[in-house]
């Protein structure tokens, strides 16, 4: 066992998850590829969404993959950072909106 949880080389082995459960793995990758194909949203727009979500779920593999994907698609660094802010705003907003729950509970329990 290596002394770190994340190894950049593991990203290239992503496909091997199908080895131990081919049916579900294959279905996942077919679904994944369909999701990222050009559709009502462009592949470029999807790449930016993926980059933002990668940061929200804090997946280093995904950040690596979608930074490179963005560069290949001609997405500029300012656009990438703006997308990350969208993800960060939703994540922080999601935390803060629970403040209302705290306020409700506080008032309910207080004299």
């Amino acid at each position: 066992m290596k002394n770190n949880y994340y190894d950049p080389q593991d990203l290239k082995k992503f496909g091997s998850i199908s080895d131990w459960q081919p049916e579900l793995g294959d279905k996942f990758f077919a679904y994944y590829n369909s999701v990222f194909a050009e559709g009502e949203l462009s592949a470029r727009e999807k790449s930016l969404i993926a980059l933002a979500v990668s940061h929200v779920v804090q997946c280093p593999y995904c950040i690596d993959a979608y930074t490179k994907d963005g560069l290949q698609k001609g997405i500029e660094k300012e656009e990438m950072m703006e997308a990350i802010h969208v993800g960060a705003a939703i994540k922080s907003g999601a935390a803060l909106v629970h403040g209302v729950q705290m306020m409700n509970r506080h008032d309910q329990l207080s004299m």
Binding site: K12, A43, L71, Q72, K73, G74
Partner: protein, 353 residues
């Protein structure tokens, strides 16, 4: 990378093709972590590569250029003095007259800087059956000096197909790769060409652009990038062009220097190897193109020329050209060839798979 001089004038060890080849054959390819290009071709039953019908004669008129681009595989620049002699130009014309060459692709350096450039193009048009003359123009040369200002009209008169490098449709990335001020001058040169009829929809005056990535990654989808380029250049500058060709940066010369300095070399080579596409391998440009260097030697492609890997034939100079002997050869391969077979493939005419 802000170097204003070629590797050669900086005395960089990578200026020597042997040093580049030694490096490319070492490391992951020597210790078996990555398969060599020949091994990869064998794995897919694609090798050895042999020429098909010769259609394109790509002539490198010399390594002098008014720009010093960070990625340049030629190591071109104002300090390079190599230039094709009139005698070698005559040899090239002779081959064009004697054989069916569909396309002549003039490159450099900046081919327009050759003092015989206009004479040579005129001679091709007047005395050969060549259908298409491509000039690989860096655009800024058209504005560089008064003596070049007539070039757009000259291109029109000789029905030259202009193919120009433009790394991106915005200033920062373009100037970072090609030098300060290059983007603005490129826009002005494209507008100049548009005003002469080049690049306009349905115009027979062909104007294509070449995109290559500004870093250690592969080009994206050619069609999608073309759509983005067209929209941005039309909206921001009123510029039209016909097609965008995506070209992968090959790990040689100044791009190799960048890969090493940025510690991206091994990862980039691994990316190229993993993206190997056997369909692209069957359509690589060296199968229908022959590259002529400034000193008249023959190469399978412009990249092999820079690595001084001459064609594997008893005839390796334009002066002694014999089509049968030249075509009866195996193409000389190296690890740099992975650049042409990665993903959708890469050639001087863009993606190939």
């Amino acid at each position: 990378m802000k170097n204003k001089k070629s590797l050669l004038s900086r005395g960089n060890r990578l200026a020597a093709p042997k040093a580049q080849l030694a490096l490319l054959n070492d490391g992951p390819f020597a210790d078996g972590r990555l398969p060599t290009f020949t091994e990869k071709l064998d794995q897919y039953n694609c090798g050895p590569l042999r020429p098909k019908l010769l259609e394109i004669l790509q002539i490198n008129l010399g390594y002098m250029c008014n720009q010093v681009c960070a990625h340049c595989h030629v190591d071109a620049g104002p300090d390079r003095k190599e230039i094709m002699t009139r005698s070698t130009l005559e040899d090239c014309l002779s081959v064009m007259r004697q054989h069916t060459i569909v396309t002549v692709d003039l490159t450099g350096g900046a081919p327009e800087m050759h003092p015989d450039f206009r004479w040579f193009v005129t001679q091709i048009r007047a005395t050969t059956a060549v259908k298409e003359i491509i000039v690989r123009s860096n655009l800024t040369i058209l504005l560089a000096n008064k003596k070049f200002h007539d070039l757009p009209d000259f291109f029109v008169k000789n029905k030259v197909h202009v193919i120009s490098s433009l790394p991106f449709y915005k200033k920062n990335k373009t100037d970072r790769q090609r030098g300060d001020g290059v983007f603005q001058q490129s826009m002005e040169a494209l507008q100049l060409l548009n005003n002469k009829g080049y690049g306009r929809p349905d115009s027979p005056l062909l104007l294509d652009l070449v995109y290559n990535p500004s870093g250690a990654f592969l080009p994206g989808d050619q069609q999608a990038l073309e759509t983005d380029f067209k929209r941005a250049l039309k909206t921001d500058f009123g510029i039209d062009f016909h097609h965008l060709f995506t070209i992968t940066n090959l790990p040689i010369s100044r791009f190799l220097e960048y890969l090493l300095a940025s510690e991206n070399y091994e990862e980039y080579m691994q990316t190229l190897v993993e993206a190997f596409n056997p369909l692209a391998a069957k359509n690589v440009m060296c199968t229908n193109t022959l590259s002529v260097s400034w000193d008249g030697h023959l190469y399978d492609c412009d990249f092999n020329q820079m690595l001084q890997l001459k064609i594997s034939s008893s005839v390796d100079h334009i002066h002694n050209f014999e089509l049968g002997k030249v075509q009866d050869r195996s193409i000389v391969l190296g690890q740099h060839c992975y650049g042409c077979t990665a993903g959708a493939g890469s050639s001087c005419q863009g993606s190939i798979a």
